[in-house]
Amino acid sequence: MTSLDLKAPAAGEALSSPAGGPPRRRRLRIPDRLRRGGLPYLLLLPALALELLIHLVPMVVGIVMAFKELTQFYIRDWGSAPWAGFDNFRVAVDFDAPIGAELLHSFWVTCTFTVLAVGFSWLFGVTAAILMQEGFRGRGVLRAVFLTPYALPVYAAVITWAFMFQRDNGLVNSALGGDSFWLIGENSFWALTIVAVWKTWPFAFLMLMAGLQNIPRELYEAAAIDGAGIWQQIRRITLPSLAPVNQVLVLVLFLWTFNDFNTPYLLFGKGAPEAADLVSIHIYDSSFITWNFGSGSAMSALLLLFLLLVTAVYLLLTSRGRKGADA
């Protein structure tokens, strides 16, 4: 989300000359000196203060907690918990012991799940957006239909899916003519992936639809005059023009899907089945069931480290190709 959004303010800077300029006849409500230098900071203050309180401070606290032996006995006064050094981390990455092995398993499950869910969400989104680029009857209604899964509150939607996946009275078994369990055992992975794709692809569709509106019409006209058919236009013009949207979209989808907590939590209730034990739910369960916040925090910190690494590498790889085109 970084390289794109920063352009907007940069473009504005050249034009603005907040101080100086034409003679001022106005009554000043804010002292002049403050207005000139301090006003932008004043305007940013509420946003900054809240983000600090709710996101950044807890994150720092979380990293400190990861180095403490923070069990249920110290919840009331966590400052007094003894330091644990790297013990929590050592336990988390000791893949021969049960705790580490379970975390590693959960990590692989999450990776597979993320690749599948993001891949299909993007595919469905881009297909629908391209097929709906041109006007046809019923397009507006169809767009509303496609966005419905995105608009539904996640709990209402996932609870409905849980009902559909019930063994005895569910739609899925009835339609497939089987009597398998979907919410426990191996199948639970597929149930989770289907629900995640259903829930996520409308967002990809929304973003790509917005991206398509910025492709100049002349490109298509020129291509049509040159004799390019519609499929060729899609391959040569539409898909390449979506590259900047895709760069942001794929990253956002990856982060949301990898961190997804709601879907497994609502689909399976407490305690996800082993085959669908995503990292978020794994950390939640191991923190709130055993009340060992220290080891939970260590796992969260490792997760953050992994996400930072992937994001950095991804942005580096994807912007290298685009830098030349932008300049």
């Binding site: 989300m1 970084t2 959004d5 352009k7 907007a8 303010p9 504005g12 603005s16 001022r24 006849r25 106005r26 009554r27 000043l28 804010i30 006003l39 932008p40 305007l43 940013l44 946003a47 809240l50 983000e51 709710i54 807890p58 994150m59 907690m65 919840i75 009331r76 469905f124 629908a128 097929l131 680029q133 041109e134 006007g135 169809l142 239909v145 496609f146 419905t148 539904l152 509150p153 996640v154 709990y155 899916w161 849980a162 009902f163 009275n169 929304l206 639809m209 509106q213 910025n214 100049p216 006209e221 519609i230 499929w231 900047p244 949207v245 907590f261 939640y284 997760l303 953050l304 996400l307």
Partner: protein, 289 residues
């Protein structure tokens, strides 16, 4: 209903394209609507019919579940809690985002880049990462000062408004930047202060963007599950937690759960579908440059 987009080609698309479009879009529409149909049809079945083999068409029709949901669980209370929390979080989030976006789009100042990057990077943190510390911080603030953030609506409102804030600021920066600067400079010449220019010129011109951001903020707060499940108690429970408990009892009243799911979805889905074109317009202006 939606704005017309530039047509891809002046020529009519070939039949192969038209048929692909029909088939693929029909399949996707069925996939998207399947759970909605399940909700709708199950919510008008008697309980026995939702416990036996699944049937596509309700054989017996009843509106009883829609009456019962208000008595089986305190749904009205959850509803009010969700409404208060989501409403307050939306109002605060929009106001704060308007100020921040105005600063970024209209002023040059030190640390602007840092601010935008920091705000946006909070989006990538897994909720689980700051859930535990935030829980402890809220509990400790409560113990030290007596301000009850843990278990109160206030704590939840504060938390939720920060969830929608980054995306809202980001979208509004794009929106504000597309409003000609001459407009607010003219207002300043006419005797408005910078805040006057913001409220009399920029905000009225950005109404579609602000509406889109408000819809997004409301949906975010209305649908949040993780923090609601940890940060609320019996009196402040929101729909997310209430409905989940409803659906994981030992004997689930599936017809009632489906009716309740439908009822809690209607406000957000209706609002979203009515205002979705603003969201697309806002995304086009803000996100996709």
């Amino acid at each position: 209903m939606p704005r017309s987009t530039p047509a891809r080609s002046p020529l009519a698309p070939p039949p192969s394209f038209v048929w692909t479009r029909r088939i693929v879009l029909t399949l996707l529409a069925l996939f998207a609507l399947l759970p909605v149909y399940v909700m709708l049809s199950s919510s008008v079945k008697p309980l026995e019919d939702t416990l036996g083999e699944w049937s596509w068409i309700p054989s017996r029709f009843t509106l009883r579940p829609y009456v019962d949901i208000w008595e089986t669980v305190p749904l009205a209370k959850y509803f009010v809690n969700s409404l208060i929390v989501a409403g307050a979080a939306t109002v605060c989030s929009v106001v704060i985002a308007v100020f921040a976006a105005y600063a970024v789009s209209r002023y040059r100042f030190r640390g602007k880049r840092l601010f935008t990057v920091t705000i946006l990077s909070t989006q990538m943190f897994p909720g689980i990462l700051f859930l535990l510390p935030l829980f402890l911080i809220f509990v400790n603030i409560g113990n030290q000062t007596g301000i009850a953030l843990y278990g109160s609506r206030g704590g939840l409102i504060l938390t939720y408004l920060t969830f929608s804030l980054p995306f809202s600021i980001w979208m509004l920066i794009g929106y504000f930047s597309s409003i000609p600067r001459d407009l607010d400079e003219a207002a300043m010449v006419d005797g408005c202060g910078p805040l006057g220019a913001l409220f009399r010129v920029v905000v009225p011109a950005a109404v579609p963007g602000i509406v889109a951001v408000a819809v997004y903020a409301f949906m975010t707060a209305w649908g949040e599950v993780l923090f609601a499940s940890v940060m609320t108690n019996d009196t402040t429970r929101t729909l997310a937690v209430g409905l989940k408990a409803y659906a994981t009892e030992n004997n689930v009243y599936w017809n009632q759960v489906m009716a309740a799911s439908l009822v809690v979805s209607v406000p957000v889905v209706a609002g979203f579908l009515l205002l979705q074109r603003y969201l697309v317009a806002g995304l086009t202006a803000g996100a996709v440059k």
